[in-house]
């Protein structure tokens, strides 16, 4: 489904590559976790795959499509749930979702029905006509998720979709994502919640300094790592315990 060949990104003025000659294949129907410490290159990789960032070198294709040849088709095939809320605070949930859905060319009647369905599933139906600025972090995250899936993408990229939300919201989001995956959506997500990734992902890759340091099924990775009982043990063994502050 996703084929990445020697993909690299070096920001202007930076000394090191954020993503360095990264090779990765992700199969259709996977829930793929991209894990790594701060500054490892997760967001940079997702930004490149979602057409927000130009790679310095390397290539990739999603469902056989590339941005150079099939830009519009590719944008229709993928959904993005960014780390920021990326919503208009003064518009209601319905208005935000209607607008972003319209930008995919979805007919108004179908769009409204889909939005109501998603809002109901994610427990936000009664807030449909409330302004986003009145929402809690968890509610905004759920609206953010709906905005990324209205056009029924084949591949969904999520950049830390559960950061800063309460346990209840997290459960609802994860359940909804599992449901989407069962319907055939390939999910690529980044997270710092390793327990969540261990349970949720069918495959994970630990990325550090722009390179993949290990990849596989969570259980297999734990089994392969000496003295590891959780994915977190594997993570610390692969990336070290040193702080990763950067500016």
């Amino acid at each position: 489904m996703i084929i990445i060949n020697k993909l690299s990104k070096k920001y202007k003025g930076a000394e090191d590559f954020s993503v360095s000659e990264l090779d990765l294949n992700i199969d259709e129907g996977e829930i793929f976790g991209l894990l790594g410490p701060n500054g490892a290159g997760k967001t940079t990789l997702i930004s490149m795959l979602s057409s927000l960032l130009k790679p310095t070198s390397g290539t990739f294709s999603i469902d056989g499509l590339t941005y150079h040849k099939n830009k519009t088709q590719l944008k229709q095939s993928i959904g993005i749930v960014p780390q920021e809320y990326a919503l208009y605070p003064t518009l209601t949930a319905m208005e935000n979702l209607m607008y972003f859905g319209s930008m995919y060319g979805i007919p108004k009647v179908d769009l409204k029905k889909d939005i109501l369905d998603h809002l109901e599933t994610l427990g936000l139906l009664q807030f449909a006509n409330k302004k986003i600025k009145t929402f809690s972090g968890g509610m905004k995250r759920r609206i953010n998720l709906i905005a990324g899936i209205l056009h029924q993408p084949k591949v969904l990229f999520l950049d830390e979709p559960t950061v800063g939300v309460d346990v209840q919201s997290r459960n609802v989001i994860i359940d909804h994502l599992k449901n989407l995956n069962q319907k055939g959506v390939t999910i690529i997500y980044t997270s710092h919640h390793l327990n969540e990734a261990e349970e949720f992902c069918s495959q994970v890759a630990i990325i550090d300094h722009g390179k993949i340091v290990c990849k596989g099924k969570p259980k297999q990775l734990i089994a392969d790592q000496k003295n590891a009982t959780h994915l977190e043990d594997v993570f610390l063994a692969q990336t070290g315990k040193a702080l990763r502050d950067y500016a």
């Binding site: 927000l52 993928i78 960014p82 919503l87 003064t90 319209s102 995919y104 007919p107 905005a147």
Partner: protein, 422 residues
């Protein structure tokens, strides 16, 4: 089309949700045009109705100085006070208590009469009318100087008009003295009228507009177009801030992942902000027509001109929106867009002739003003308001405004696409 309309609807919602911003957008331009027109109209009235206090030091105490004082009194422009101490008068003007002081030199009447008599005698002698009785040696008379002290705060244009008024008055007195000297030499009867001393040449003020019934332009007719245009161009501020906000909120980034062109996004903004510009303009006209008379200002006359006025406002609005789109595309923060936008509009207004007429500018600035879209808009508005032209005469100006919109929008799109190429 569906995406364009959805974009426009979203812009409409964003705008209407910010009631404070919307109020500022509509009320501030109205306050601006009311304030400016009140000030300009009042300064006009000040000169016409309220007398300017001036102080005179009459060191001559003669016939000529009396004549000057009489002329100043009857001119209805000045409220006259007299003083004898020039030093004190200078201080009073310096302190701003009087805007003008006139110091008439000593022996002005005596020396002027002597000089005129000498000249008249000389002329008559040449014609053989008078025996050469003037002294063989010419009189050594020093040229007289009427001193004018101006308050340092007075404007250059005010000083110029006062100077030219007084020069005209002195010249008339001098001419009359010459006529009087001739009269005295030619006849012994003081009642015999040999010369007609009234001005032979006078001025008639005509403002050509192709319509004999047309109104003479007033301060409303001048101010509404100029300041409406200024307000229309100020739309670049909220528009660019709106775009910068979208970048900061992340919504612009989300949109880049959608299959929608930047031109469509800008199209939605253009539709709404152009409607705002036209609404602003309509409010300005309503204020000019209905509120100005209540405030004692001249009524704005739009009879028969409304369609053309809106044509000009439409294209001026497009030009302003284009500039706003470009600024919003390039700016990364409100700290960049707001000060730049505000200053740039003021510069465009200045070189466009909103404050100072283009003909009064230095040559270089006159050339520069031809590049200002505000100048094209202003000229088009004046064409409609003051020159009574038709649509065909407006085509050059509205074409320039439209091309400006096209150019700025294309640059914005190219800049955006290059910057975000993947």
């Amino acid at each position: 089309m569906h995406k364009l309309l959805a974009s426009a609807y979203k812009e409409f919602l964003l705008l209407t949700r910010d009631i404070g911003g919307l109020a500022v957008l509509f009320i501030m331009p109205l306050l601006l045009v009311i304030t400016i027109t009140l000030i300009q109209d009042n300064s006009f009235k000040t000169i016409k109705q309220n007398k300017i206090p001036i102080i005179v030091v009459d060191n001559d105490q003669g016939e000529v100085s009396q004549n000057i004082l009489e002329n100043l009194k009857t001119s209805d422009l000045f409220e006259l006070s007299e003083q004898t101490n020039e030093k004190l008068v200078e201080e009073l003007v310096q302190n701003g208590e009087y805007q003008l002081a006139i110091v008439i030199p000593e022996n002005l009447s005596k020396d002027l009469n002597a000089k005129v008599s000498e000249n008249v005698d000389g002329i008559l002698a040449k014609f053989g009318v008078e025996k050469e009785t003037f002294p063989s040696k010419k009189l050594e008379l020093i040229a007289k100087e009427v001193k004018l002290y101006f308050d340092p705060a007075t404007q250059f244009s005010f000083r110029n008009s006062i100077k030219s008024g007084i020069a005209q008055m002195v010249s008339k007195i001098e001419t009359q003295s010459i006529y009087a000297a001739f009269q005295e030499q030619i006849t012994d009867d003081p009642n015999e009228k040999i010369f007609e001393t009234d001005s032979f040449i006078s001025f008639k003020e005509i403002i050509p507009n192709g319509d004999s019934e047309a109104l003479i332009p007033n301060s409303s007719q001048h101010n509404i177009p100029a300041w409406s245009l200024f307000a229309i161009f100020f739309i670049i501020l909220p528009l660019s801030i709106n775009m910068v906000n979208e970048k900061n909120q992340g919504t612009f980034i989300r949109l880049r992942t959608h299959p929608v062109s930047y031109a469509t996004v800008l199209g939605g903004k253009t539709m709404v902000f152009l409607a705002v510009a036209l609404t602003q303009f309509a409010f300005m006209l309503l204020v000019g027509i209905y509120l100005f008379p209540v405030l004692g200002l001249p009524t704005l006359d739009v009879s028969g001109r409304l369609p053309l006025l809106f044509v000009v406002a439409f294209f001026a609005g497009l030009a302003a929106v284009g500039l706003g789109l470009l600024l919003g595309t390039i700016a990364k923060s409100q700290e960049q867009s707001a000060p730049f936008g505000a200053t740039f509009v003021v510069i465009l207004a200045a070189i466009g002739g909103v404050w100072v007429p283009v003909f009064a500018m230095p040559k270089f600035m006159q050339t520069l003003s031809k590049l200002s879209p505000m100048n094209w808009g202003l000229e088009a508005f004046y064409d409609v308001f003051l020159r009574n032209v038709g649509l065909s005469e407006l085509i050059p100006e509205i074409t320039l405004l439209f091309l400006f919109f096209v150019a700025t929008t294309v640059i914005a799109i190219v800049y955006h696409n290059r910057k975000n190429a993947v």
